[in-house]
């Protein structure tokens, strides 16, 4: 099926409404796009987090695919087991031999922090699954605590803004590069705004022979302090400011997916969200300048990686 919205709209929506995610949450938008892109049967494991809680309050489920949740840290381990069981049952002739796509969803808390070693292990073992990180840059499910995905200068309840501390002091972890360093067949970054880019990447990811990873920026109204209707708009602004570049790493070859026609200043990103409002105070102007330098540096590094076709 071509990646065309009118064609795709004929497909059954595999995430039902009635879930309890916030109004304006972008996580369910990402999940819908992922499930619409995949053309084969799907099995999903979910890490603990907003998505898991919001789509499965007992006795309801929003999922129209086989779905399992075990704990916070082990979505990658659980889906490894499911994938292995399926392979074994096919070999024993107990299940038909047909392609099944195995997905794991985790937030940034589950992916960057709590589940990192389990994810790393599953990638190294080479299971045939796709891990999708719904990255909203903090622990939103438990009430906005900092994670290692929270950007420098970002307010959270555990990186508060006060007279001394201007939000989180440490830069975020580059987990996408860490995943690429596992030398798995496919790694990418995406956003829900770029639905076609995201769906193309999902199709590539599930088709490779081995593990794949996609990091999707997922704006959060509560944690980022933006209006309910701005999630998609912000996921585009993140790309335009080079805060969240779109790229993919196919068999170790880095490729830029989109180059903004005009790179917007980071100030536009900072002004768009309440979690950065303190950075607009005169005494914090130097931080804005430092953050711009960091973004420029990371962007140049990415361009060099992509030009060279591999990590530097």
């Amino acid at each position: 099926m071509p990646l065309n919205l009118r064609e795709l709209s004929a497909k059954e929506d595999l995430l039902a409404p009635g879930h309890r995610l916030c109004a304006g949450c972008t996580e369910s938008i990402v999940v819908r796009q992922v499930l619409l892109a995949i053309q084969e049967p799907v099995v999903v494991a979910c890490a603990t987090g907003c998505l898991e809680i919001g789509t499965s309050p007992f006795p309801f489920t929003s999922w129209r695919v086989p779905w399992i949740h075990v704990a916070f840290e082990n979505a990658a381990a659980v889906i490894s087991g499911v994938e292995t069981a399926q392979r074994s049952l096919v070999r024993q002739g107990k299940l038909p031999d047909r392609p099944v796509r195995f997905l794991a969803f985790g937030g940034d808390g589950a992916t960057y922090d709590i589940g990192l070693q389990w994810l790393s292990g599953a990638l190294e073992r080479g299971h045939h699954f796709t891990y999708i990180c719904l990255n909203n840059e903090a622990y939103m499910n438990t009430g906005i605590q900092r994670s290692s995905a929270t950007p420098r200068g970002g307010w959270t309840t555990t990186s508060p803004v006060g007279k001394v501390i201007p939000g989180k002091r440490e830069p975020r972890k580059d987990i996408t590069a860490i995943m690429a360093a596992h030398n798995i067949p496919y790694v990418a970054q995406a956003t829900p705004h770029g639905w076609k880019d995201l769906m193309t990447k999902v199709r590539k990811a599930v088709a490779v022979d081995g593990p794949s990873f996609i990091n999707v920026l997922s704006p959060c109204t509560r944690g980022w302090r933006h209006e309910l209707d701005e999630g998609i708009e912000l996921s585009k602004l993140a790309v335009d400011t080079c805060i969240w570049p779109l790229f993919e790493v196919e068999s170790g070859v880095w490729k830029l997916s989109h180059r903004p026609s005009r790179k917007k200043p980071i100030l536009e990103w900072i002004k768009s969200q309440g979690r950065f409002s303190h950075l607009l105070r005169p005494e914090n102007q130097h931080l804005v300048e430092e953050l711009q330098v960091e973004v420029d540096h990371d962007w140049e590094k990415l361009l060099r990686r992509c030009d060279a076709g591999g990590p530097l």
């Binding site: 109004a23 938008i29 007992f58 998609i232």
Partner: protein, 306 residues
């Protein structure tokens, strides 16, 4: 317990429901009274209906559960007025205080034959004027104390100051205190009070279906065998604004469909045909992203008032 008063607060995440329940309890603490303040919400998020409870009494309170038969209902969001079972359990001599621009008699006609006397206050407008944001909790507390002197107004002023000072600017703290006074004065009563009609609307079949099943009805392991069963859970009540499509200008580009977090756009033969208001949470992403700008967000109250 003799003299105990039970208050049930109904509102949405973000309106200060839990804070209101606690501010009143803290005022009681300052007066040496006994109290409880309990929030109740599940996995629901911002915008979802939530409840909170406050118990006040002259003696230690030995019960610790949700309030089923309240003396007072405070409704912080007028869009909740048609929620099934809203007034359930309210004592016949009870009191209903609603944040709304409508009159008490209009609210009465919305609620139907229900126990308790109805009072209204345009608390959102008072808060908007006083603090620049329509957070209705403090003006409603002022109104509540006018109707029932549960604690003295100065105690509540002090509990508000203690809670807000240092966290919010002095102007916002002052604004809240003004909102408290204004709420105390502006509360409106029913023209012909319905005293003690001990009946309330039965919960709808949907509300009954949404209650958790008993253990003996569960599948072994708690496995849920019906895919997508959350479709029975209606999230449309979370909405304060409704997207309305101007079909003449719709180009059926499907961007609203692919960007909807709640799968609310129905498509037939590659054309948009309908919008599912039983689940739409009113986030407005569709209106924000629509290229020909043919979706308008209309306040839900416009529809409630007909």
């Amino acid at each position: 317990m003799e003299g105990m008063v039970e208050i049930r607060w109904h509102g949405r995440g973000g309106q200060g429901v839990v804070t209101a329940s606690e501010l009143l309890a803290e005022a009681a603490l300052l007066e040496g009274k006994f109290f409880q303040a309990l929030p109740e919400f599940g996995a629901e998020r911002s915008g979802a209906p939530i409840r909170a409870y406050t118990r006040l009494g002259p003696e230690p309170i030995q019960i610790h559960y949700a309030i089923a038969e309240p003396d007072v209902l405070v409704i912080l969001d007028p869009t909740l007025l048609d929620t099934p079972g809203l007034t359930q359990g309210l004592k016949p001599e009870g009191l209903i205080l609603v944040n709304t621009t409508a009159s008490p008699d209009q609210v009465r006609s919305l609620l139907g034959a229900t126990a308790g006397a109805v009072y209204t206050l345009d608390a959102s407008a008072i808060a908007q004027r006083a603090i620049g944001r329509p957070i209705p909790n403090v003006p409603l507390l002022g109104a509540l104390l006018t109707l029932l002197p549960l604690v003295a107004l100065p105690s509540l002023r002090e509990s508000i100051q203690r809670r807000l000072q240092g966290r919010l600017s002095p102007a916002v703290v002052e604004g809240n205190l003004r909102a408290l006074e204004e709420g105390a004065q502006a509360v409106r009563r029913e023209q012909s009070p319905h005293n003690g009609i001990p009946s309330f609307r039965e919960p709808s079949p949907a509300a009954v279906a949404q209650a958790a099943p008993v253990w003996s009805a569960l599948d072994p392991g708690g496995v849920i065998l019906r895919p997508g069963s959350s479709i029975d859970y209606e999230t449309g009540s979370w909405r304060s604004e409704r997207p309305v499509i101007n079909w003449d200008r719709c180009t059926h580009c499907m961007l609203c469909w692919v960007y909807c977090p709640d799968s609310c756009f129905s498509v037939q033969g590659q054309r948009l045909v309908d919008l599912d208001y039983t689940h739409c949470k009113g986030c407005g992403i569709c209106a924000n992203q629509c290229p020909p700008k043919c979706i308008e967000m209309v306040p839900e109250l416009v529809f409630q008032e007909g």
